[in-house]
C-alpha cells in the first residue's frame, strides 16, 4: 500500500496524476465498502474534481501542497459545506452545513482530496460504531468484529486500504481505540492544537480532531497540516506549532519511557504481552524504560462519564426541530421538541443526555459535575508528577482486541470500559497515539499507546515510530495502490 507521503511525492513530482489516485481510491471503496460500510457519503464527483485541480496545479508548475492528491476520509461530524453531515444521527439526517470546518479548509489548502464522510457512533457516543443510526461498520480485519468507535468508519476506511488518511475525533479515545482495533495508527493531539471549528460538539472540553494513517510518519504529516491557531476557536492555542514530521525517524534513544502499570494491568493477557514486547523493543532501541504507576488514572473513567455527558446534554440541546434537521410536528413547540428528540436520538445518546442533565441539576451539581472536575484536576496533577521522571508513557490503547458485533450493545458499562486507557489523556488535554503492535491470540491487531505531555507531539511521534519500526506484523489488507 502506498503511504500518504509517497502518494504526495509522486503527485507533486508529476510521476502519478492525482486523478489516477482518486479513481483508484473510489474503485476500492466501490468494490469493498458495500460490505464494510465505512462510508456514509462517498464524494466521487467532488474527489475527481479536486484531483483534477491538483493535477492542473502541478501542470502549471505550482506546488499543490504537502497532501497533494492524497485521499482523506472525513468523520461525519466534521462540517462540509453543502455535503450531508449527520453525525450518525437521524436528527441530522440530510443536514447540509453552509460552511466548512477549519480542518476541511486546511485539507483543501494542502492539496488533499476529500473522499467522503465516514460512519460513526451517533454524536461520537460509543466504542463500536454500532450506535450509528445508519447501521454498523464492520472491521476490515474480521467482518464479524466491530471496528471500534466512535470513529469506526474512518479507522475501517484506512485499514481496508480505501484511503491512506482519514480524520476522526477523540473525546475519550474515539480515534485511538478504533485505530487499535483496526490495526492502524490513530492520534489525538494536544487540546487546542487543532481547531474544533466545524467539529460538531460532543463534549467540548474533551473533543479533539486527529489523524488516522497507516504509518506514524503519515499521521505526523497530516497533523502538521492541521496544527495551528484558528481565530474561530477560542480554545485554540496561540503558539505556532513546530513541524513534527522531520523528526519522526530520529529514534527513541535516550528517551525516558514510563511503562504505566495502570494503563496495562487490567487488559487482556495477550494485550498485556504485546505492550511488554513494545517496551522491550523500545529498550533495545536505546530508550530508558522504567515501570511507573499512576493510580489516579483509574478514577478517570468515572469522572469522564460525568463530564462528557454533562457537556453533551447542553451541546445537544439545539437539536430541537426548530431550525434544521428532523422535525416531528406536535401540538406546541415544547411538544414538538420532545417528539423530535424522542424520534431523532438513539438510546445511547438519550442515556447520556439524561445522565448529564442529572449531573448538572440543582442539588446534584456539587456531588457529580463539580466532583468530577476535581478528579479531573487530580488526574492532570498525576500526569505532571509522572512526567517529572519520564518523557512519555507507554500503555495499552484498548483492553482487548476487536470484539464481536452485537456482543456489548446491551451492556453500556462493558462498552464504556473500552475507554479506560484512553480517557486520561482527554481529561488532561494531552496528546496520545495508538500504534499497531502485533496481534492478540485471535490474530487481530493490538494497539500500543504512547502518551506525552501537552505539546509533546514531536517526542510522541518519534517514540511511536520506534515502536512501529519494531512491530512484528504489518497491515494485512492490501489495496494495491
Amino acid at each position: 500500500m502506498s503511504s500518504a507521503v509517497s502518494v504526495s511525492d509522486d503527485v507533486r513530482s508529476g510521476r502519478r496524476p492525482a486523478r489516477a489516485v482518486a479513481e483508484q481510491a473510489l474503485a476500492a471503496v466501490g468494490a469493498g465498502d458495500g460490505e464494510l460500510r465505512a462510508f456514509l457519503t462517498v464524494l466521487a464527483d467532488e474527489a475527481l474534481r479536486q484531483a483534477d485541480e491538483v493535477d492542473a496545479t502541478v501542470a502549471a508548475g505550482r506546488d499543490p501542497g504537502p497532501l497533494a492528491g492524497v485521499p482523506v476520509a472525513l468523520k461525519d461530524n466534521l462540517c462540509t459545506r453543502g455535503v450531508a453531515t449527520s453525525c450518525g444521527s437521524r436528527i441530522l439526517e440530510g443536514w447540509r452545513p453552509p460552511y466548512d470546518a477549519t480542518v476541511v479548509t486546511a485539507l483543501r489548502g494542502a492539496g488533499a482530496v476529500t473522499l467522503g464522510k465516514t460512519n460513526m457512533d451517533e454524536f461520537a457516543m460509543g466504542s463500536s460504531t454500532e450506535n450509528s443510526a445508519f447501521g454498523p461498520t464492520r472491521n476490515p480485519r474480521d467482518r464479524g468484529k466491530v471496528p471500534g468507535g466512535s470513529s469506526g468508519g474512518s479507522a475501517a476506511a484506512v485499514a481496508a486500504g480505501f484511503t491512506p488518511l482519514a480524520l476522526g475525533s477523540d473525546t475519550g479515545g474515539s480515534i485511538r481505540q478504533p485505530a487499535a482495533l483496526c490495526g492502524v495508527v490513530g492520534m489525538k493531539p494536544t487540546y487546542g492544537r487543532i481547531s474544533r471549528y466545524g467539529l460538531v460538539a460532543f463534549a467540548s472540553s474533551l473533543d479533539q480532531i486527529g489523524p488516522f494513517a497507516t504509518t506514524v510518519e503519515d499521521a505526523a504529516l497530516l497533523f502538521d497540516v492541521l496544527a495551528g491557531h484558528d481565530p474561530l476557536d477560542s480554545t485554540s492555542l496561540p503558539s505556532e506549532p513546530e513541524p513534527t514530521r522531520p523528526g519522526v525517524h530520529e529514534g527513541a534513544e535516550g528517551v525516558r519511557v514510563g511503562l504505566c502499570r495502570d494503563l496495562v494491568d487490567d487488559c487482556a493477557p495477550d494485550v498485556v504481552a504485546r505492550v511488554h514486547d513494545a517496551a522491550e523493543a523500545l529498550a533495545k532501541a536505546g530508550a530508558k524504560v522504567q515501570e511507573i504507576s499512576v493510580p489516579e488514572f483509574r478514577y478517570g473513567l468515572s469522572a469522564y462519564y460525568l463530564i462528557a455527558p454533562a457537556e453533551a446534554s447542553s451541546n445537544l440541546a439545539r437539536y430541537d426541530g426548530v431550525r434544521y434537521g428532523l422535525r416531528v410536528e406536535a401540538g406546541d413547540s415544547a411538544a414538538m421538541n420532545t417528539a423530535t428528540r424522542t424520534a431523532g436520538f438513539g438510546s445511547e445518546v438519550k442515556r447520556r443526555i439524561m445522565l448529564g442533565t442529572y449531573a448538572l441539576s440543582a442539588g446534584y451539581y456539587d456531588a457529580y459535575y463539580a466532583q468530577a472536575q476535581r478528579v479531573r484536576t487530580l488526574v492532570m496533577q498525576a500526569f505532571d508528577r509522572a512526567y517529572a521522571s519520564v518523557d512519555v508513557l507507554l500503555g495499552a490503547t484498548a483492553p482487548t482486541t476487536a470484539f464481536d458485533l452485537g456482543s456489548k450493545v446491551d451492556d453500556p458499562m462493558a462498552m464504556y470500559m473500552n475507554d479506560v486507557c484512553t480517557i486520561p489523556s482527554n481529561l488532561a488535554g494531552h496528546p496520545a497515539i495508538s500504534v499497531p503492535f502485533g496481534t492478540g491470540d485471535d490474530g487481530l491487531p493490538v494497539g500500543v499507546q504512547v502518551l506525552a505531555p501537552a505539546l509533546g507531539e514531536a517526542t510522541m511521534f518519534r517514540v511511536a515510530q520506534a515502536v512501529e519500526a519494531h512491530a512484528p506484523v504489518g497491515p494485512t489488507e492490501e489495496a494495491g495502490w
Binding site: 461530524n77 466534521l78 462540517c79 453531515t85 453525525c87 441530522l92 443536514w95 452545513p97 453552509p98 460552511y99 470546518a101 474544533r196 471549528y197 466545524g198 467539529l199 460538531v200 460538539a201 463534549a203 467540548s204 472540553s205 481565530p231 474561530l232 476557536d233 477560542s234 480554545t235 454533562a310 457537556e311 446534554s313 447542553s314 440541546a317 439545539r318 430541537d320 426548530v322 431550525r323 434544521y324 413547540s333 415544547a334 421538541n337 442533565t357 448538572l360 441539576s361 440543582a362 451539581y365 459535575y369
Partner: protein
C-alpha cells in the same frame, strides 16, 4: 385595588434587573451586524444561529463597553468566566444562553440617585441576547397563536445585565434609579438606552414587609416594563397587591408576573415550581476573561464625566443653586447630552438661564438637529434675543431654522426671515408719539417713578411689533429723562 402601596405599617422592597444592549457594531460572539429594525434573519451566521460545529469568539469591544459600565457604576472589575444557562426556547438558537454566573466581570458597585440615595449594584455581567418570537394568530396572543416566527437578528447581540441590591423602597426611587442608570449607559457610550426599542429592559423584584422588619418578604419578579411610567405603576400595583394579600391573611407566592399596561395590573406568568433549573456550568468553548490592570486603566481614563457630575458642572456654570424648575431643565439637558452646548454658549456670552431654557425645550424638541448646532450660532442668537434685537418668539423661530439647517449665521437668518431690528431714528419717532399720548405717565417717570420704564418699553414693543431693542429703548428713555 384600593389599598395604598405604602401604608404606615408596610414597606416595599425593590431590586431591579436591567438588561442593556451594548452599542457595538457586531454581535457578542460573531461578526454579524448588531442592528435594530433590519429585515428578519439577515444578520445571521453559523455562530449566532447555533449551527452544529460553530464556536463563539468573544467581541473585545463588547468587553470594553461592559467594563465602562462597571467603572461608571463603581464596580470592581474582576477576572471572570462565562457559563451556559440551559433552557429550551425557540428564540434561543443553541437552547442555552452564554452568560456569566458565579464569576461576573463587574461586581459590588453602587449608583447614586439625584437625591443622594445610593443603590447597591450586586453585579453587571455580560451575556448574549436571544432571537425574537412573533406569534402569528388572530389575536397575536401566545395562547391563540397558530404558529410562531423567529427572527435571529437579535440572537447573540451583546447585553450587560445590571442587578441592583434590594435597596429601593419606593416606586419613585425605582424610576429615579432606572432614569439615572439610563443616563449613565448613554454617557458611557455603552448603549443608546432606548426602552421603547428594547435596548434597555427592566425587570423588578418586588416584596413587602412590615416597616422596621429586617427580614425580606417573598418576592415576585415583574416583567414587561417598557417605560419608566410602566415601571412605577407596576411596582405600586404589585406592592399594593401583596399588602392586600397579606392583610387578608394570604401568602405571597414566589413567581414571575407579567405587567399588563393597558389593564394596569400584574398577572401570574409562572410559579417557582415551573421555573427552569438552568443547570449552569462553565462554558467550555470560551476561555476565562481577566482584563489586566493596563486595560482597566485605559477604560477608566477614557471615561467622560457621568450625568451627576455633568449636572453639577452645568449648575455651577449657571451660577448658584438652581430652582426646582431649573433642576428639571438641567436633568433634561444632561440626559440629552446638550450640556456641552449650553456651557459653550454661556462661555461665548449667552445668558445662562436663557441658554438652559432654550436647550431644555426648543433644542430638546429637535434633538436630532442638536448635534449639528454650533455653540457659536446658538450663543449669538441668544445674545441677539437678550439684546432686544429679536423678540422671544422671533428668536425661537430662528432657533428652529438653525436646528433644521444644522447651524448658520443667526443674524443673516433673522434678516432672511424678516425679523430686522429697528433703526434708532425710527425709535426716536415712535417714542415721540408715545410720550405725546401719555404725558401724565411721562411726567411721573421724569419725577423718578422708575417702574414706568417697563410701561414705556412695552408700548414701544407694541408699536414696533417687538422689533425694538430693549436695551436701546431703556438707554433712550434714560437719556430723555435727563
Amino acid at each position: 385595588m384600593t389599598v395604598p402601596a405604602e401604608t404606615d405599617s408596610w414597606e416595599m422592597v425593590v431590586g431591579l434587573e436591567v438588561h442593556c444592549e451594548l452599542a457595538t457594531t457586531t454581535k457578542l460572539f460573531c461578526g454579524c451586524r448588531n442592528a435594530f429594525g433590519d429585515e428578519p434573519n439577515v444578520n445571521v451566521c453559523p455562530v449566532c444561529l447555533g449551527l452544529p460545529g460553530s464556536l463563539p469568539v468573544l467581541n473585545e469591544h463588547a468587553v470594553e463597553l461592559a467594563m465602562r459600565i462597571g467603572e461608571a457604576l463603581h464596580c470592581e472589575i474582576r477576572p471572570s468566566t462565562f457559563a451556559r444557562k440551559n433552557y429550551f426556547y425557540p428564540d434561543q438558537a443553541k437552547d442555552y444562553q452564554i452568560s456569566q454566573y458565579d464569576q461576573p466581570l463587574n461586581a459590588a458597585g453602587w449608583l447614586e440617585l439625584p437625591d443622594g440615595f445610593r443603590v447597591g449594584i450586586t453585579r453587571a455581567h455580560m451575556e448574549e441576547d436571544t432571537g425574537k418570537l412573533t406569534h402569528v394568530g388572530e389575536s397575536g396572543r401566545i395562547h391563540s397563536a397558530m404558529h410562531a416566527l423567529v427572527d435571529y437578528n437579535r440572537s447573540g447581540v451583546p447585553l450587560v445585565e445590571i442587578v441592583s441590591e434590594p435597596d429601593i423602597r419606593s416606586a419613585a426611587n425605582a424610576r429615579a434609579y432606572a432614569a439615572e442608570l439610563r443616563g449613565i449607559l448613554v454617557a458611557t457610550g455603552a448603549s443608546d438606552g432606548r426602552m421603547e426599542e428594547g435596548s434597555m429592559r427592566v425587570d423588578a423584584n418586588v416584596s413587602v414587609r412590615q416597616a422596621g422588619s429586617t427580614e425580606f418578604g417573598t418576592r415576585c419578579e415583574i416583567k414587561n416594563l417598557n417605560s419608566l411610567r410602566s415601571l412605577g405603576r407596576a411596582i405600586e400595583y404589585e406592592a399594593a397587591r401583596q399588602i392586600a394579600l397579606l392583610e387578608g391573611g394570604g401568602v405571597v407566592e414566589q413567581e414571575t408576573r407579567h405587567w399588563d399596561e393597558s389593564a394596569g395590573r400584574t398577572e401570574s406568568l409562572r410559579s417557582k415550581e415551573e421555573a427552569n433549573d438552568y443547570r449552569y456550568f462553565p462554558e467550555p468553548d470560551l476561555v476565562p476573561l481577566a482584563p489586566d490592570a493596563a486595560w482597566r486603566g485605559r477604560v477608566r481614563a477614557g471615561l467622560g464625566p457621568m450625568p451627576a457630575e455633568r449636572r453639577a458642572a452645568l449648575g455651577a456654570a449657571l451660577g448658584g443653586s438652581p430652582t426646582d424648575a431649573e433642576a428639571d431643565q438641567i436633568r433634561a439637558v444632561v440626559d440629552l447630552g446638550l450640556d456641552g452646548l449650553v456651557t459653550a454658549a454661556v462661555d461665548e456670552g449667552a445668558p445662562a438661564g436663557l441658554a438652559l431654557a432654550r436647550a431644555a425645550n426648543e433644542v430638546a424638541a429637535q434633538a436630532e438637529g442638536a448635534a449639528g448646532l454650533p455653540a457659536g450660532s446658538f450663543a449669538a442668537l441668544l445674545s441677539m434675543e437678550a439684546g432686544g434685537q429679536l423678540s422671544a418668539t422671533q428668536s425661537k423661530a430662528v432657533l428652529g431654522a438653525l436646528l433644521e439647517r444644522g447651524g448658520g449665521d443667526p443674524a443673516a437668518l433673522a434678516k432672511e426671515m424678516g425679523f430686522e431690528a429697528l433703526g434708532s431714528d425710527t425709535l426716536g419717532t415712535v417714542l415721540d408719539e408715545i410720550i405725546a399720548a401719555n404725558l401724565d405717565e411721562w411726567g411721573r417717570f421724569c419725577e423718578g417713578e422708575d417702574k414706568l420704564q417697563g410701561f414705556f418699553t412695552g408700548e414701544v414693543m407694541k408699536a414696533t411689533k417687538g422689533k425694538a431693542n430693549g436695551k436701546e429703548v431703556a438707554a433712550e428713555l434714560r437719556r430723555r429723562r435727563g
